[in-house]
Amino acid sequence: MTSLYTGLYLVVFSISLMLLISLGLAVIFGMMKVINLAHGEFMMVGGYACVLSANAGAPLWLGVLAGGAIAGIAGIVVERLVIRFLYGRMVDTLLATWGLSLLFVGAATTVFGASSMGMSTDFANVSLGGMSVSSYNLAICAFSFSLVALCWWLAVRTKAGLIVRGTMQASEMAACLGVDRDRVYMSTFGLGSCLAGLAGAALAPLTGVSPAMGGFFVAKAFITVIVGGHLPLVGASAASSLFGAIDGVVSYAYSSVLGEVSMLIAAVLLLRMLPLGITGRMKRGM
């Protein structure tokens, strides 16, 4: 019975990690159709902000918020300097954001050194169904699910969300109705980077931070969003659940490398059968 609970917990945790990692990309790539290969590096920026502020004595929640804020600002700067010239040119965006990713990695290595930085953590373990679980892992689950809920609320229930969705769907029409497209694109990109930063910051206590950490996340994030299909939130959630489950089970049974490999194989097979992703056939939704 305990092993069943352990498995269940691992799957839920792995799903929430997957959601956390891919949510920012779901906004930038899924909604804006901007292929952002620097997604992992925005997570790195958030992670460094969190570790540095925590080591300076700030509480963890403040560090996570700082991570989100700084990555968001970095995202807005990047959008103004590079991305805005490339809307609609997907291949060029892909190449330019790859350049950005190299630039960020190089800059972080120059400033902080190539080795990884950690932060001291003291999380209590709590007992859950007969096993002992780090309370921080539970907090991450709660954090990632509430971020998804927040995004959904933002997109569906607020006027700003309506404007953003409308602009992404028909930007000419939105411009005719008096929407400042430039600002919408800029702030949406900022929001996506901010989500990436929050994710990186929240994961920093678990994994530590290093300049190359982005590479660990970017592949997972991309296959999640691509397999998700054209509805960013529903798609990313569905794909996260699927891949999280696969990754969790295989990693638990064999090894984490095998978990990732099986996840990738599942993704390629799935795309062979559903080239438009899980939500390819759905007409409405978010």
Binding site: L94, W98, G99, F222, I223, V268
Partner: protein, 348 residues
């Protein structure tokens, strides 16, 4: 297909058979390179050999991206696979020549598998780029995880992170030339690069090659004309995978070493940078780009400006934003302007 539109004005030669100025310039370049070992010191020979081997890798991407319009980041998968295939087979058996052949064949087999899923799944070009990138990452991770003593192929340990040292060269002699010597490897690299360059150029002028260029321009129209775009794209992917694999095998032979860095994301980025800096609309572009960027990174390393990655990232962004055509087409149009009556003369 935004990536294709701006290359159209420069590819007029793609479907035509090369004429004598092209053959003459190729001949002059090869002759110049043949003379290099006579005058250059060992270090320069080693550097140039590496540049030629990496040019082969860049050429494999230039063919796929510039002429078929498929941007595959997975060329390093085949590069790495080729290297590992050569290393493992030549260490396990005494047949390095067969191993070099396998360095092309093994990646081609994998290209068939991966390409089948992507081309026959009709995955759109941008997703294809991302998927090949993801596969690259998985390969790197997978190889890095094989450090334990249980990961053995034949009698050779994979060694994960540390790679496989002591990969043998080709124990062959051609006349007075020992193919294991530095000079021998130089000529070997030159031979394969020249062969690939001329071969690709002739291939592109063949009926099949023209179909591929047609696919880049408009794959719907080619399908309506009765060509199976999936099959042709798969074929191009496999050929290019074989070339990259061959480059990997030569790389293993050059450095007597293979390691997981061959699969790495940085390596993949390098290939993209070579091709985009040199220009992908003519075949000489990737070679030129490789030469420039390799020397630039070496130079940056020696002057100690800090992070080479930083500079490369910057170059990539600037190239995408300001010079999306690359250098070689720019040179070509310059030459064409100087000699307006015969514009094919600028091609190397």
């Amino acid at each position: 297909m935004s990536s294709h539109t701006f290359s159209m004005s420069f590819d007029a030669h793609a479907g035509r058979r090369p004429r004598w100025p092209w053959w003459a310039s190729v001949g002059v370049c090869v002759a110049l390179m043949l003379a290099v070992p006579r005058y250059a010191d060992t270090a320069l020979q080693l550097d140039l050999s590496l540049v030629m081997i990496l040019s082969l890798l860049a050429l494999s991407m230039g063919l796929l991206w510039g002429y078929v319009g498929i941007l595959s980041f997975g060329q390093t998968i085949f590069f790495g696979l080729g290297g590992y295939a050569y290393a493992l087979f030549s260490l396990n058996t005494d047949l390095p020549v067969a191993a070099l052949a396998l360095a092309a064949v093994v990646p081609m087999l994998f290209a068939v598998l991966l390409g089948y899923f992507m081309m026959y799944g009709r995955i759109s070009d941008i997703y294809l780029s991302v998927i090949t990138l993801v596969v690259t990452l998985i390969f790197e991770k997978g190889v890095r995880a094989t450090s334990g003593p249980e990961y053995v192929i034949g009698a050779v340990r994979l060694n994960g992170q540390n790679g496989i040292p002591g990969v043998p060269g080709l124990p062959l002699r051609i006349g007075p030339l020992d193919l294991q010597s530095i000079e021998g490897i130089f000529y070997l690299a030159l031979f394969f690069l020249a062969l690939a360059y001329v071969g690709i150029r002739l291939f592109l002028a063949s009926p099949t090659g023209r179909v591929l260029v047609g696919l880049r321009e408009n794959d719907k129209r080619m399908e309506l004309l009765g060509y199976d775009s999936r099959l042709y794209k798969l074929m191009a992917f496999v050929i290019s995978g074989g070339l990259a694999g061959l480059a990997g095998g030569l790389y293993a032979l050059w450095g007597n070493f293979v390691g997981p860095e061959m699969f790495s994301l940085n390596q993949a980025a390098m290939v993209v940078i070579w091709v985009i800096v040199g220009g992908r609309s003519i075949l000489a572009g990737p070679i030129l780009g490789t030469l420039l960027i390799q020397y630039l990174t070496t130079w940056l390393g020696t002057v100690g400006v800090g992070q080479v990655t930083l500079a490369l990232g910057f170059i990539l962004i600037v190239c995408v934003l300001l010079f999306p055509q690359g250098l070689a087409p720019a040179c070509q149009s310059l030459i064409a302007r100087l000699a307006p009556q015969r514009r094919a003369g600028g091609e190397r």
